[in-house]
Symmetry: D2
């Protein structure tokens, strides 16, 4: 599996390239970045790779099996189109596209070219997510997810709007996590505020299967938080903190000393857990690479994140036009 | 402070009576219960107390400063009225009344008689709640509260409706906690389901000051859970688990080794913390008793829980008549 | 059960008196303290009690079933002797005696008078200790206990020696906990230092049944820590933190998803856990009061803490005379 | 930096090779394993590498900058000697040698050849270890380390003795961690037992600088545990669990609400922490590779683990000949 990387920023340097290097049979032939200093960094890291300043040139001059793109959302769109034009499988970091319109074109283009696509949705593949799904067996009743971070506090990428930057860089992960867990969204209800550089949102998703998920998210926390509680069929409460540990409480389970209350089953990673499994990067790249090998659509295809973009569009709309009466006003 | 207790069930035996006995200057003169076995239990616990089978008789024959009532909601209403008729200060366990109509009569009666009233809202006075309030200084942005429990799974008290039983026995606490923390409610949005004996609700409260609170609550967890995350002004995240510990993360704070990320300030109770402070029972009873001594309205007066009853009525209504379009339907 | 209290300091005010008031059938008839202000406090707390400045006078003028003493170690000795002379059951806070010689006289006196005695060894009765014992069924292999605190940093009570003050006020608890859990001590090995006001000790106890316990203890921690790990037969690891939670890991146990690794059973107190059970004060006072009623020796009799005093004497000796070669010197 | 690997078992596959692949400028030219199936695995993982069944052949036919060895302790010795004979820098997994005699020959050989050597002592380089050292600034008072695992339960490698297998595979890590943190060992005191397949040891190390460390370790726990508490100068208690989190309590520090008690500073990894930094594998390999580049002795040279072997020898001796009277016998 011969890969070419476009964009050698922090995400590529710290996660994507190292993660791919640890996967069986993967070779990195080329690295492309417009910044000369980063091309130097790339050569320091991988002396045997070829470096490029232009993605199309790399695609044309290396015999690549797939391209992995991690730059700007607008760049993601352009480079994905260049790859699809060449019938070259392409993986792009989130957000895969700067707007729902762009995403639709990418989906259409992928369908037309018939090659494998992928988006960087690592939370779906985190170790605790996989355990959660096995425990739930698709019988979730309710989810509450707390996703806190410290940025963005100014609009970035090509956006002029802070809220959009926040949704496209942060909420895309938590929304995708919830949709991947719960299924097709029926309703979106957004309450919260975006005053100055502070965003604090409560987003309630109701799904076609009756599940309710509430996402509380903000850019005002000094560090990254990703904690959730899931109520699942069989009267189980499944809680997880920091993608590190998971705790299951279950009505009627036999416990030590025959006590029926206050006992839980807890799991956490080994002190020596290493690599890219825990964070889901390994699972995400592995799914993409297997799909390329098997010439099939990946689980994380461009099309798979379409429902997330739809939610983000509704959230933007709801925040723009304060809904008059979401519900009866308390008097 | 001479107290008479009405109802000597588990809550009185385990929390209210022991808690009051540990407060300075409190004497328990009389205990009333219709059940002869419980009157025997009362005498075993407090040999010097007088026992009664009728509350009015106790009020008339003991020289009481106040009555503490912990029986059925309908009993709460009746006995509270009997006490107020006698101009006797009265504290009732939650729920103080079986309906909003009854509560309004109790409030009116209390206003007319001018004596101190109280309701068992201990969560307001838990140690972590007091720390939380001091940390926030009324500048909350957002709250997410998870309140899980294992009951009721059948209607109880005089209710025929499981949802009402759940709201009046469980949600009354979490709603009161949120209202006490955040202020006047502007909107209530309820999503969730009550199928058979299973209740899973997500309740979003928006407050007049712009704060948003989401309460996720269910009767499907084997044990009691009361965890919350609060985002407060100054870019602080304040988390608490089990009324035991509290953690504060704050943007820009100077930490060990000058690291700005991933450090938090944490507080938890002493291994030897004892008594009724942590759970808030001491604070609640102390506030009522001080108010009786000072002949003032207590912070936990009948009137103080009127907004909670209002919310519960809206929630019942929203669950009864599925709101058509809370928000734009995701297509 | 009519009790008289001697000493109305913090321990009596916050734990012993409130705890006893919550026990069935207990009445507090008298409170004795040499300090007039504290006698006023006692009357505020218990208006119906009689107050005294002299313990003997209280014993002679109230019809008491037992005396509870919480003052100075030298006072403990004197007042215990006065009570035993009157054949009055007596409970004393730790340390029960200012020296092993005094303790031996108290034990002899108790044996002669034949009345019930008790010492304030609450850690034996903490909720997690009771669970631990039930889980272990006396088949402990090894224990490590971390007991950290912030005092004493100057000699107190009538001691001139800081180490003795530390042992008699702090280590008495951890040593008693270990001896109560593991049985008869065979050897004591002390390493560590006491330089200036800083004490840092590692004490290894080996027991006749082959069990090893290591106690790491210090007066240099800002708050009280009481954490332990127990390895028990059946390849179980039982860990506890802050007398609040307990976690059991067990080789070969069937877990969720059939995973054999990294899962544990965890238990923690309810958010609403109140009263004096968790800290062991209720269990300790209850054992004493039951023993008085049943006219038997209590589990926490003066004699029961003799092995602890023996250990403390050995530790003092080992710290005074640096052992030359505890073991082969590493070259 | 061109590396050849000897031994392609689990440790090489999961940690050493992937970790090295993520380091800047590292190329894996050759992989050697006697097992043909593993050579196939090696080719699947790294199609561009050459595979060998004999280490000497690999060293002679590839232009290597260093060799990384992870096979059997006896193999470690032989292959290290082969590399040193060729003046080729060599890194070996723990244990580097099957006996102290072998280790001494390796140290002498390394000194003679003048090339860089390394041993797999990753715990020294774990993220929490680095934070711990920065916090302590070499002013440790006392350490307690709990190191529990589930194996070995039968002798392995070329050993006939279970205790030796345990010490050489497990305790080598915890002893090295303590010696690296505290300095030169003065005394070793071992208590505990090895009955059948069960090992439960308490090892107390006293250091020349007066520091005391107690290591409680066992092979009877279902999963790997590595938790410690360090008391450091300045009245600080530093605790860590699972190489994941670290908590610092400090006397006299100013906290929220001006409370002086029960507050701590806590740090834990990011939910997305990936790669080989946390477990120390990255730090260990980086130190070796930098030392090779700079043609200097590495911090983890063969000689650097000599004190650990010395301790292990003393522990074996102490367990073989039950010390008669480590200390005064408690009567």
């Amino acid at each position: 599996m011969k890969l070419g990387f476009v964009g050698f920023g922090a995400q590529a340097q710290e996660n994507l390239v190292p993660c791919c290097l640890t996967l069986a049979g993967v070779e990195v032939l080329g690295i492309c970045d417009q910044n000369p200093a980063r091309r130097q960094d790339a050569l320091k890291m991988l002396p045997s790779a070829r470096v490029f300043s232009d993605a199309a040139t790399m695609m044309d001059s290396c015999d690549l099996d797939a391209v992995v793109v991690a730059c700007y959302p607008s760049g993601h769109y352009e480079i994905a189109c260049q790859a699809l034009d060449r019938r070259l499988p392409v993986f792009v970091e989130k957000p895969p596209a700067p707007s729902i319109g762009h995403l639709d074109k990418m989906i259409e283009s992928a369908r037309h070219s018939g090659v494998t696509t992928g988006v960087g949705m690592n939370f779906r593949y985190a170790s605790v997510t996989k355990r959660l799904k096995a425990l739930c067996e698709e019988q979730v009743n309710s989810v509450t997810l707390r996703h806190f971070c410290s940025k963005p506090t100014t609009p970035f990428w090509d956006h002029t709007c802070l809220l959009k930057s926040f949704l496209y860089s942060q909420s895309i992960h938590s929304l995708d996590f919830l949709i991947n867990l719960c299924g097709t969204v029926r309703q979106v209800t957004t309450v919260g505020e975006n005053i100055g550089e502070r965003i604090v949102l409560t987003i309630v998703l109701t799904f076609q299967n009756g599940v309710t998920a509430s996402l509380v998210t903000s850019n005002t926390c000094p560090h990254f938080v990703f904690d959730f509680d899931v109520i699942a069929m069989g009267s189980r409460l499944i809680s997880s903190s920091a993608l590190w540990s998971i705790t299951v409480s279950e009505v009627g389970k036999a416990y030590h000393l025959d006590e029926a209350k206050r006992w839980s089953d807890s799991w956490e990673h080994s002190p020596l857990a290493s690599g890219f499994e825990r964070s889901g990067y390994a699972g995400q790249m592995n799914e993409f690479i297997c799909a390329v090998r098997e010439q099939r659509e990946s689980e994380i295809s461009f099309a798979s994140v379409r429902p997330v973009y739809n939610c983000m569009a509704i959230i933007e709309e709801q925040m723009a036009q304060p809904v008059q009466a979401l519900s009866r006003i308390a008097s």
